[in-house]
């Protein structure tokens, strides 16, 4: 299960995730992310409710990064230690600002 919440402001979108981001749920997030990046310069992921991220989940971050790379930045907030570990281990922590 994954709950996705989106808050859009001028040029900025915050996507909050709650649950597990795995093979089953990543397709849903990918659609949500891809469809909401128009006119966005700052993409914020609030991961305070995220328990787990699989490699399929990381691919969603990767495709978002490829879009945002040209026009803005991605900020990852409130990731748990386990989720942070996965970002560190895969080196994805280099791609975004992790707060």
């Amino acid at each position: 299960m994954l709950n996705i919440k989106k808050e859009k402001k001028e040029g900025e979108i915050k996507i909050s995730l709650e649950g597990r981001l795995d093979t089953a749920t990543s397709a849903q997030l990918d659609i949500e992310v891809q469809s909401s990046l128009d006119n966005v310069e700052k993409l914020i992921f609030d991961l305070s409710g995220l328990e787990y991220i699989s490699s399929a989940g990381l691919r969603v971050f990767l495709s978002a990064q490829k879009i945002m790379n040209k026009k803005g930045s991605i900020i990852v907030q409130n990731a748990s230690e386990d989720v942070k570990d996965i970002f560190e281990m895969t080196g994805f922590s280099e791609l975004f600002t992790i707060e």
Binding site: T23, S55, A56, L58, L62, M89, T90, G91, L95
Partner: protein
């Protein structure tokens, strides 16, 4: 479960045959003295239709057994239409016979029930075929199944109220004032199914769409053509004919796709199997080291790999990697990555330079956003010194001679195929005599038990330290036992690659 299904299939097939024989016998028992010739045609058509239904049913059973595909609603449809044909045949026989008036009533009541049930199964079959998962459709499905119950209930009430049809004291069937109302549910449901077909049309071939529409229009056209011949009824038989068509067009064309997918998977499986070296013991003449590796895919094709080879007379390369993503595409990406790494290392590039080269090649045209996490180690067998690169891969494990297993933590480089021109860091290491390196993929650390919990780092060390032997094959077998005990009855969800090397020195 399967045995039960087989039995059920056999019983229903026998029932089909018995009903066909029963209808033929009834013709002789009741006699054809007062039956109009045109009714006899109807009965003949019903019998042929039933035979067609029987054959179709047997075909479906065979398919169900062979492919396990989801055709239970198709089978249900066939059975209902079969029953409708039988009842239609009976209705013509008993009509106009005062002595058989009660039989006439229940036969027609059951016959009337077939239409809404047919419509319901057609809806369910269509939804399963289209694999519709929209929540609106799910709500509509609930409504439609409720509607089917109401329609059936109304037909029972009709026995007493006679608004759809009545059977007079002379045993003659006649339509009631609300006869046409009895079609509302069936038409609504079938049209709703066709609307869903139209909405989902981009996932369907044109011939598939036409086939769905024929289910509705063939019986209408047949009805129109026979309208001018009084008393002829070919409706149920034409529905059975369309079912035959649907079965052939929709299901057989699915088999073809499935057969293609199975063949593709078998080819990829063969490629992947051939690509993993399995020459154990590897170079038994070299006394400086021993090595063992193992790959266990979760499904037929997998995206984990291991590799090992001598770069030159002194340097041994070891590689363990995992491509994110599933299916044949990921397997091909994995095979490509594996070969690119081997080619770069074999041409003499140090591991970090080799990774740079491979990464840029993998980034080129990677529109599917695959990425590769990989550990590469190159060790000089003379000195035990070497370099490793960790591109986003899990933490390797080492065991010093006589010691316990422990993780090696250092800052990882970015996974490969993510960003062009990524720089990779080489981590120097030195193996002493009796030291071992154990590299795995996340199929080990994320092996999942029935409570949906990961095996995790601590349990990995616990499993490995249970038998801290420095024998690569035994150590990997021990790891596999540990994983299997942990996942117990759950299915292995992720691929698993393991590589273990012990250094004995000169």
């Amino acid at each position: 479960m399967n045995k039960f299904k087989n039995k059920k299939g056999l019983i229903i097939s026998i029932l089909h045959l018995l009903l066909i024989v029963a209808l033929i016998r009834l013709v002789f028992i009741i006699g054809t003295v007062n039956v109009k010739p045109v009714y006899l045609i109807n009965i003949g058509v019903a019998i042929v239709g039933m035979m067609m239904g029987f054959m179709l049913y047997v075909c479906c059973l065979v398919e169900l057994k062979k492919s396990g595909s989801d055709i239970k609603y198709m089978i249900a449809l066939i059975n209902v239409v079969f029953l409708a044909l039988f009842l239609d045949g009976c209705a013509w026989l008993v009509d106009g016979k005062p002595a058989l008036r009660n039989h006439n009533i229940w036969v027609n009541t059951l016959y009337y029930m077939c239409a809404p049930i047919e419509a319901y199964f057609f809806w369910m079959y269509t939804m399963t075929y289209l694999k519709v998962r929209k929540s609106l459709i799910k709500q509509l499905s609930v409504l439609i199944s409720a509607g089917a119950y109401i329609a059936v209930a109304l037909r029972i009430i009709n026995v007493f109220a006679g608004f759809y049809f009545t059977v007079g004291q002379d045993g003659v069937y006649s339509r009631g004032p609300l006869y046409l109302v009895s079609f509302i549910y069936s038409y609504f449901t079938v049209i709703a199914a066709l609307v869903a077909v139209v909405i989902e049309r981009k996932y369907l071939e044109r011939y598939q769409i036409i086939t769905f529409f024929m289910y509705v229009f063939v019986p209408i056209v047949v009805g129109f053509l026979t309208m001018f011949t009084y008393g002829i009824s070919c409706g149920p038989a034409s529905v059975m004919l369309v079912l035959l068509l649907m079965y052939c067009v929709l299901n057989v064309s699915e088999w073809r796709d499935m057969a293609a997918a199975t063949r593709d998977a078998a080819l990829a499986e063969k490629l992947q199997d051939d690509a993993m070296p399995k020459d154990f013991p590897f170079m038994p003449g070299r006394k400086e080291f021993d090595l063992y590796a193992y790959l266990r895919p979760a499904k037929e094709v997998c995206s984990d790999f291991y590799d090992y080879y001598m770069i030159d007379d002194e340097n041994l390369a070891m590689v363990v990697g995992d491509v994110s993503g599933e299916g044949i595409e990921a397997t091909l990406f994995m095979l490509l990555s594996k070969k690119l790494i081997k080619s770069a290392l074999s041409s003499g590039s140090p591991p970090e330079k080799a990774m740079e080269l491979v990464n840029n090649q993998l980034c080129d045209g990677n529109t599917s956003n695959f990425f590769l996490t990989v550990w590469i180690g190159v060790v000089n067998l003379k000195t035990g010194e070497g370099f490793s690169v960790n591109a986003g891969h899990v933490h390797p494990i080492i065991r010093h001679a006589g010691g316990d297993y422990e993780f090696v933590f250092y800052k990882h480089s970015l996974a490969a195929a993510v960003m062009e021109n990524t720089k990779y860091k080489a981590n120097p290491f030195k193996m002493e005599v009796g030291d071992s390196i154990f590299v795995y993929t996340d199929g080990f650390s994320e092996a999942t038990n029935d409570k949906n919990e990961f095996l995790g780092k601590e349990r990995i060390l616990k499993i490995m330290n249970k038998f801290p032997v420095a024998n690569p094959k035994l150590a990997i077998e021990n790891a596999l036992v540990g994983i299997d005990e942990y996942i117990a009855d759950t299915v292995q969800s992720d691929d698993l690659a393991l590589l273990y090397m012990t250094y004995y020195g000169k």
